[in-house]
Symmetry: C2
């Protein structure tokens, strides 16, 4: 099969079809999305070697669960051992022995076929196109915030970062009715949320005011985003940390204590709530799509996805 | 009156009795406790100049609230402006304009008299001695953890630090029924909690095991305590940060995100619950008292309080 392989360089190659491990399902990928994590992986993040990619839609070709065969699915990306205390609490995505699709010890979705445990696969409602359903994984990561903390309809909330992650988080948090502000660098990206009824501001405009917020979500991916978040969260407020940074941060933790701030790290979420929001048309990721390229142009798509101002690039198989 | 004054050096001096500001009460101090914050203040923390001290018991000599006069009280240390949104939410201790007894823009308790707003004063139940009631403030700071987060009876909880703060937190958290471990450096201090039915371990012994915890409370005051806390908190666990460190920390925030850890900064608490725990004899601070010295020996008491292994030193007026 054709696959995009990272072995220090990123290239399309002919590789053998995956050997399906005992108890797993084989999925033929029909669409995949390029995420910033994929870009980071190709810069060395996680020391990953193999086939990256973790946002996909596909058709189940083989599965130990007979009724899955032939269905169109998306797939949760963390595969736990299934036996430890963490897994038995339904937190496979925090299993210390987990593999992660296209990120850790498991080949990913930038290939014609992938394998995952059947319990990771979730059927996609017929009403959803591949172009929509492929956003399930990043949307689930945004919805995860609402699994972890209570954002109240009267809260003042600021999201930092107008990339794909920040915009998706904005699209989800607007559903709470909260007083929402998205700040970023790119007026054309900010407009995506503006059209959906969220307020937006450039970083320059924010520097002119002294507003503080009940909840700040840091999704800029930059250490300056952390500093901004700390400076704008109210005493006893919530700082949701979605960004991971290269290397370490150097900062004074005293304001966390003195202002009794709560910092909540947030990563992957469950797929079912994300699919429900898509099926109800409460979140429409269409404005996030920059382009859809055929898989044979995946190398070019990767270059495109790294251009400044480019949002989501999808690969069609 | 006699007062312990910090003006770069710490000395007992004769100073005028405080002029009582409009709307405030005058309290004659009968007992005061020396806290690590006082020691830090005398090393330059908060750039404070004046009379330090914020743990006290006293008798109200004047008050605009007539029925307070003559009562024995303890006093909440943060005095807010009373008018901002934060104050109106009952969070005077987070008012941006607040003064703090013996810490920020307000003379403190190491003096024969102090002043505070009447609303800061809380009457001490008759059953409590001065020696017990003087612990209300640090005990309230420990109880604050339970105001902020839900610690469940089945949780595994580790408290890092066997100083006054760590021991007081241990005394409070044992009340939840949780599986409690206190780690520290001083076997004789660890025994204080051991005798109350908590488990303890030296840092060396902890290094020999790989246990992880639902909740970790960092109360060591040392950056190494933060690192230990991060390494021992479970995925999706709680890290309660009580310590403030000199200067800034340099650390990788990615584990907060990847493991979805919640970091909760925690500072001062309300006095009423602390007084209830003392009055019910559910917390007995007596084992924390190293010595009680007359106020005239306050300079010596300060030196004693800084000796390794010395717990609480009290001043009797």
């Amino acid at each position: 099969m054709k696959a995009l392989v990272f072995d220090g360089e990123l290239r399309i190659k002919d590789v053998p079809e995956p050997k399906v491990p005992d108890g797993e399902a084989l999925v033929r990928v029909t669409m995949a999305g390029i995420c910033n994590t994929d870009v980071e992986i190709c810069k060395g993040y996680m020391n990953f070697r193999g086939i990256p990619g973790h946002e996909f839609v596909g058709i189940v070709e083989k599965s130990p669960v007979a009724e899955q065969v032939g269905t169109r699915v998306v797939g949760e990306i963390n595969a736990g051992c299934g036996e430890c205390t963490t897994c038995r609490q339904g937190l496979e995505r925090h299993c210390a022995q987990r593999s992660v699709l296209g990120i850790l010890n498991r080949n990913g979705a930038f290939a014609e076929y992938l394998t995952l445990p059947p319990s990771n696969l979730v059927e996609v409602p017929e009403s959803l196109s591949d172009e929509t359903a492929v956003f399930t994984e990043p949307l689930a990561a945004a919805v995860e915030i609402l699994e972890q903390v209570h954002i109240r309809p009267a809260d003042r909330v600021m999201v930092i970062g107008d990339g794909k992650l920040g915009l998706t988080i904005g699209m989800v948090l607007r559903l709470t009715g909260c007083d929402l502000l998205l700040v970023g660098k790119h007026p054309e990206k900010l407009q995506v949320l503006e059209r959906l009824g969220g307020s937006t501001m450039t970083l320059e405009a924010l520097a002119e005011c002294t507003d503080v917020f009940d909840v700040v979500v840091e999704a800029s991916g930059k250490p300056s985003g952390w500093e901004l978040a700390m400076s704008r969260v109210k005493p006893r407020g919530l700082l949701i940390l979605k960004s991971t940074y290269h290397g370490s941060l150097d900062f004074n933790t005293a304001p966390i204590v003195v202002n009794e701030v709560t910092v909540v790290g947030s990563r992957c979420g469950r797929f079912e709530p994300a699919l429900r929001l898509l099926a109800r048309n409460l979140v429409d990721p269409a404005p996030l799509v920059h382009d859809i390229l055929p898989f044979r142009d995946a190398e070019e798509a990767f270059r495109l996805a790294q251009q400044p101002g480019v949002c989501k690039v999808l690969l069609k198989f």
